[in-house]
């Protein structure tokens, strides 16, 4: 019975959370208060783990909550519940889109949507960059050069510079798979205790 309820709760989350993984959070808090399957403190831990493991955050959260609530079957059922509405809705849209692909109005709408997508990706990247490179907590400490020095996380800036040169400037490295750079960064992070 709990599996059925898990599926249903996450189906609803997948159906109503629009705009990416973190949009599922308010729904998860709501599930926590209504069902008592897991506490809000546990939820905070789950967010931390979901953000520090590979995979989309929303999916990680569903697996974690489901697993905590009802073991391995729970993890699987919650995750399937979460993705079910996406599969149904997107398959319907993809089918319709296929038929109207050559329609001029649809084509014109996508002409406007492409810069929108690139802008949303840029904004997401910049927001991550802000918490990665800036120490905003230290803002206003000291003055002049000292303030400037404490504003930036210089280790992060140095790593980013090396990565930029490697991925854009060095020919043999440019072609490497992104995961190579991710793994190398993880190693650097541990070595130099980021």
């Amino acid at each position: 019975m709990i599996l059925l309820r898990l599926f249903w709760e996450f189906f609803k989350t997948g159906l109503f959370a629009v705009g990416g993984g973190l949009a599922t959070l308010p729904f998860l808090y709501d599930i926590s208060t209504r069902t008592g399957w897991f506490s809000q403190a546990q939820l905070a831990d789950m967010i931390a783990v979901s953000e520090s493991t590979p995979g989309p955050i929303g999916v990680n959260m569903a697996t974690y909550v489901g697993f905590t609530t009802a073991g391995i079957p729970g993890g699987i059922v919650a995750t399937l519940g979460l993705v079910c509405p996406s599969i149904i809705v997107i398959l319907l849209i993809a089918k319709v889109l296929e038929q109207f692909r050559s329609n001029q109005t649809v084509d014109a709408a996508f002409y406007g949507l492409r810069p929108c997508s690139v802008a949303l990706i840029s904004a997401a990247g910049l927001l991550v960059a802000r918490i990665t490179f800036l120490n905003e907590a230290d803002l206003g400490l000291g003055n002049g050069l000292a303030a400037l020095k404490s504003l930036f996380d210089w280790k992060a800036v140095a790593l980013a510079t090396v990565l930029l040169i490697a991925t854009r400037g060095v020919k043999p490295l440019k072609k490497l798979h992104p995961i190579v750079f991710i793994a190398a960064s993880a190693a650097v992070g541990i070595l130099f205790s980021f």
Binding site: A108, V118, A160
Partner: protein, 179 residues
Amino acid sequence: MKLLSLFLSFAKVGAMTFGGGYAMIPILEREIIDKQGWASSEELMDYYAVGQCTPGVIAVNTATFIGYKVAGIAGGIVATLGVVFPSLVIIMLIAGILTNFADIPAVKSAFAAIRVCVCVLIFNSVLKLWKGAVKDRAAVVLYLIVLGISLFFDVSPIVFVIFCATAGILLTRMGVRGK
């Protein structure tokens, strides 16, 4: 065979994505566009826009879209199962064994550095996507409007998607497109 390679490719994407849906873009570009040729970068942007305003996790929506394009309904389902599979395995392992995973100093350090790397990879992706997506002056203006507003105000992506789709239609009708 096609279904199997869809599953495996998307499982790779799921396993290599660190962060939200945006972090998946550099990996998708490599695995799906460059390696498999299953979609163009313009199509990827179309799917991303639709995925922003339809319910569900963006990574999953994009996987369903591309899977459907490659191998119909079965493809959509298999690609989606592929992208969530690594999460299932990794999260359940960690949840079962290492409850304090996120507090381990080495994990914290590794992820702080991975975030730096993801920023750089996204920067590279944006430069690449820009070429296919922003081809005229009107598109540059749309880009700047969405970027500017989304950096300083908390506006739902749905608003941007509706605004830009409408703008795209109007600009095309007015004959501004391509100039």
